[in-house]
Symmetry: C2
Subunit: 479 residues, 2 copies
C-alpha cells in the first residue's frame, strides 16, 4: 500500500519542534527582564510587518519560530515580567504552562461527562479541594447541594450568576418568555465593568443595574443598598441580584459581605461574590476576614489565572444550589443524549456555562496545586502581600506622595501630591522607560497610580527597583 | 544578598520537564490507535482514584506526569484518534499544539490593543487572510466596514450576533433599558441548540425563538420563514434575527442562504450564518456553493478548532458592520482607558465578545495556516470529503442500510433498515469495542447513526476498518 500524501507534522517532527518551542520559552523567561515591559510598537506596526495574504505552500516550522521571535515579540507587552505591576496580574508558571500543554496534546472535549470522563471528574475534584483551601462554605462542595466549575473569566461567571438569579426570581420563566423589564440588579459604583456588560447581555438592561454608593474605603454601603432595594420594590420592580466584590479592580476595596448578605436574605436576592484577584489571598487564613459572610453567598468566583500561577483562562465559579444554575442553562438536543447523562449519576458541565465546548482546564490547575502544594502557594502569596505593604509604607513615609485608598492586600493606590498632570507624567515616563509597567485609575476624581504586586516572579528587588524609579521620576516631575 | 525562598519551577527545570511533556505527547500520538476510542470508566471511577484533599507540600513534577498517565488517561475519550467519527471533530495538530504552547509561554492578555499589540494585530491579519481563503465577502475585511475576531466557540459567536441584532433592531436601547418581550429570532428545527441557549441568555426567551420547518433535506424552508416573520409582524412583534446554518450538527443540512437572505432584506433582519464545522470546506472552491448568498450575511462564524487542525478553542467570527457589534458590547471604565484606545487607531477586541480577558489565540491559527499552507489544508479537507463520499457509496450499495440524509460533505447519516433497536445495538457494540467511536441523531423520528470523517489523522484505512466493523456488527444484529 502506498503511503498517503500528508502535510501533517509527524509525532517525531512534533518531538523535535516541541523541544525547540520549550527551549524558546525557557530562554524567554530567563531573559524576560531584558525587555521593555510595555511594548513600544506603534499602531499598525506589527500588522505592516506581516504578509497581506496566506502562503500557498506550507513553510518549515523553523521559519515560523524565527518569525515569532522577530515579528511578534516586539509587539508583546510582557505580562510575565516580574516588573509588571499594571492592572491585575495574569500569571503563568511552569506547571501551569505544562498543564495547559497536556490539555492541548490530549485535545479532549469535556462538554459532557461521557465525552471524556476524566475532564469532568478531575475538575469536580479540584474545585472541591479549593473549597477548604479558601475557607469557602461546605455548601459549595459537589457532595452538598452546590458545586464548582471552571469558567473562562469572571465576566462569564458573573453573567451566569446573574442569569441564575434572573431565573430563580421569575420562577424560571425569563428564559422561556423573555425578560419583562422589571428585574433589577445591584452592584457598587466600584464594581467591575463586566457587571454592566452582564446586565446588557442578559436583557436586564443597564438602567436596571443600580450602582450603589460607596464609603470612604470605596466599599459598597449596605444601608444604601437596602434603601435602593426598598425603593425599587415600592416602584413595583423585582430586585433579584447583588454582586459584592472582594477586592475591586480600581482600588482593591472590600465590600462588607456579611452586611450585604443581611439585605439579600431580607429581600430574597441572589448574592454573588466576585473575588477575581483577591480570592487567592484566602489561601492564607490571616487574609480570610475580608470575605466574612461568604457563607451566605449564592455564588462565588475567583481567578487562579490572575494571582494563583495558573495560566489563563481559569476562573473558578461555585454555586450553593447547582440545580438553579443547571435549570437556567440546560438544553439537551438528541445528538447529545447518552446513557450516562440520563442516569443522573454524572455532571455535564456544558449546563454550567455559556459555551457548549470546553477544554480540559482542570489539568493545569491540578498540576499547579500539586507542584506548589498549599504551603508553596501560601508562601508566595504572603510574600507578595508583604512586599505591597512595604511599598505602601514607603509611600506613607514620603511627603511627596499619598495613599489614595487603603491597601488591604497586594494593590497599592497612590499619587504624587502635585496633581493629575504630575501623576500622568510620572506614569508615562515610567512606562516608556520599559523598566516597569503600572496603570492608573481615578479615585475621588483624582488621577491615581496603581501598583499591584502579584506577578509570579516578582521579588523584593523588583519592588525596590520600582520604588527607586518612581522616586526618580517624581523628582523630575516636581522640579 | 540571600537568595529568596522559592517554590517556582525555574526556567531550567521548565526546560527539562517541558521536554518530558513534549515526549509524552509525541508518544501518546504515536500510540493513540492502541487505546479504546471511547473511555471505558464508570461514573465516579476517576474521582475515586484521586485524593480527597490537596497536598500540603509540593510534589515532584515526575510524579505528576506519572499520575496523568496512570490516573487520567484511562478516563480520556480519544478525540485525537483517527478512529474518532463521533459528533463533529475537535482537531489538534502539531502546529496547533505548539502555537497554543507559545501562547501559554508568552502569557499575554489581549483585552486591549495596548495590553499587547501583537495579540490584536496578528488576529486582525489572520482573520483578514481567511476572508478570501473561504470565499467570504470583502465587507468582512478589517479594511472595510467589518472585521473578524476569534471567539471561544460558535455558541458565544451566535450569542454576540443575536445581541448585535437585538441592539440594531431597538436602536441600541435594549442594553440600556432591557428587553421588552417583543423581539423575535428565527432558526430552523435543525439549528444547533446553542441558538436556544442564546435566546435564553439574551433575555429574548425561547418562546420568541421560532424554529422554522425544514424540507426533506432538513434545510430551513425560506417560505416558512417568510410566513412566520409576516405573522409575527402582524401580531405587533419585532422580528430581528435569523440564523442560517451551513452544515447542521444533526445531519449536515445546508440552509439556502440566498433565499433566506431575501427574506431578511425584505424585513430588515440580521442574518447570521453558522458554519461551525462545514465552513472549513469552503477552503476548497468546489465546496463553496453551499454558502451561496453569504455575501448578504451580517455575520458569519466557523470553528478552525473543529475541522481545520487548530486546537480548541478557536471560533472565527466576522461582522459586516463592526460599529454595531462594538456599540453593543463596549464599556470603558477608567482603569482601562489609554491613549491608543482614545486615538481610535486601534482595535480593542474586548468590545467584540462577552469576556474581557483574552488569550493570544491567533498564534496557533497563524502557525497552522503557515505550516500547512492553503494547499496542505485543501488537500486534507478534500481527502476527508472523498472518504466520506466513499463511505456513503458503500452504504448506498449495501441493501441492509440506507442513507438517512444527503451527505453533502464529510458527515454521513445512515441506518440499518431493521429499525431503532438494531441501530442502537450496532452503535453500542461498536463503541464498547473501542475500535471506533460514532454517535447518533434522530431524523424523521428514526434513530440514525452519524459517521463524521474529519479527525486530523483519519486516513482511508481507518474508514475502511470502520466500515468492516459496522458490517460485522450489522450481521450480528440482524441474525
Amino acid at each position: 500500500m502506498q503511503a498517503e500524501k500528508s502535510f501533517h507534522m509527524t509525532p517525531e517532527e512534533f518531538r523535535r519542534y516541541g523541544h525547540a518551542v520549550i527551549d524558546w520559552i525557557a530562554d524567554y523567561h530567563s531573559h524576560i527582564e531584558s525587555f521593555p515591559v510595555l511594548s513600544r510598537v506603534k499602531p499598525g506596526e506589527i500588522r505592516a510587518s506581516l504578509p497581506a495574504g496566506p502562503p500557498r505552500h506550507g513553510e518549515p516550522f523553523e521559519a515560523l519560530l524565527r518569525d515569532v521571535e522577530k515579528l511578534i515579540l516586539p509587539g508583546v507587552t510582557h505580562w510575565q515580567s516580574p516588573n509588571f505591576f499594571a492592572y491585575f496580574p495574569c500569571n503563568a508558571s511552569g506547571p501551569g504552562i505544562l498543564g495547559d500543554l497536556l490539555s492541548s496534546g490530549l485535545g479532549v472535549q469535556g462538554m459532557l461527562w461521557s465525552t471524556s470522563p476524566a475532564c469532568t471528574e478531575l475538575e469536580t475534584v479540584v474545585l472541591d479541594w479549593l473549597v477548604p483551601m479558601l475557607g469557602l462554605p461546605n455548601k459549595f462542595l459537589s457532595s452538598s447541594t452546590g458545586g464548582g466549575v471552571i469558567q473562562d473569566t469572571a465576566s462569564s461567571a458573573s453573567l451566569c450568576a446573574l442569569l441564575a438569579a434572573r431565573e430563580r426570581a421569575t420562577n424560571y420563566m425569563s428564559n422561556v418568555r423573555g425578560c419583562d423589564g422589571r428585574l433589577v440588579a445591584y452592584a457598587s459604583t466600584q464594581t467591575h465593568s463586566s457587571l454592566q456588560k452582564a446586565a446588557m447581555i442578559s436583557g436586564i438592561g443597564v438602567s436596571n443595574l443600580r450602582l450603589i454608593e460607596v464609603d470612604e474605603t470605596f466599599a459598597m454601603r449596605p444601608d444604601g443598598l437596602a434603601r435602593q432595594v426598598e425603593a425599587d420594590k415600592r416602584a413595583g420592580l423585582l430586585p433579584c441580584f447583588v454582586c459584592a466584590t472582594v477586592g475591586t479592580t480600581s482600588s482593591n476595596a472590600m465590600d462588607p459581605i456579611a452586611d450585604i448578605a443581611r439585605v439579600c436574605r431580607e429581600h430574597n436576592l441572589w448574592l454573588h461574590v466576585d473575588a477575581a484577584m483577591s480570592g487567592t489571598a484566602a489561601l492564607c487564613p490571616e487574609s480570610r476576614h475580608f470575605q466574612n459572610g461568604v457563607e451566605h453567598a449564592d455564588s462565588y468566583c475567583f481567578n487562579p489565572h490572575k494571582w494563583m500561577f495558573t495560566n489563563f483562562d481559569c476562573d473558578c465559579f461555585w454555586v450553593a444550589d447547582r440545580k438553579v444554575l443547571i435549570r437556567t442553562l440546560s438544553i439537551l438536543p438528541e445528538y447529545l443524549r447518552n446513557k450516562a447523562t440520563e442516569s443522573g449519576a454524572v455532571i455535564d458541565y456544558r449546563d454550567w456555562h455559556i459555551q457548549l465546548g470546553r477544554r480540559f482546564r482542570s489539568l493545569k490547575l491540578w498540576l499547579v496545586i500539586r507542584y506548589y502544594g498549599v504551603e508553596g502557594l501560601q508562601h508566595h502569596i504572603r510574600e507578595h502581600v508583604r512586599l505591597a505593604q512595604q511599598f505602601a509604607d514607603w509611600i506613607r513615609n514620603d511627603d511627596r506622595f499619598e495613599l489614595a485608598a487603603p491597601a488591604p492586600l497586594n494593590l497599592v493606590c497612590f499619587r504624587h501630591k502635585a496633581g493629575d498632570e504630575a501623576n500622568q507624567t510620572i506614569m508615562d515616563r515610567l512606562n516608556r522607560s520599559g523598566d516597569l509597567f503600572l496603570t492608573h485609575t481615578r479615585l475621588n476624581d483624582k488621577l491615581t497610580l496603581r501598583l499591584c504586586v502579584g506577578q509570579t516572579n516578582t521579588q523584593e528587588r523588583h519592588v525596590q527597583a520600582a520604588w527607586r524609579r518612581i522616586q526618580e521620576e517624581a523628582s523630575k516631575a516636581s522640579k
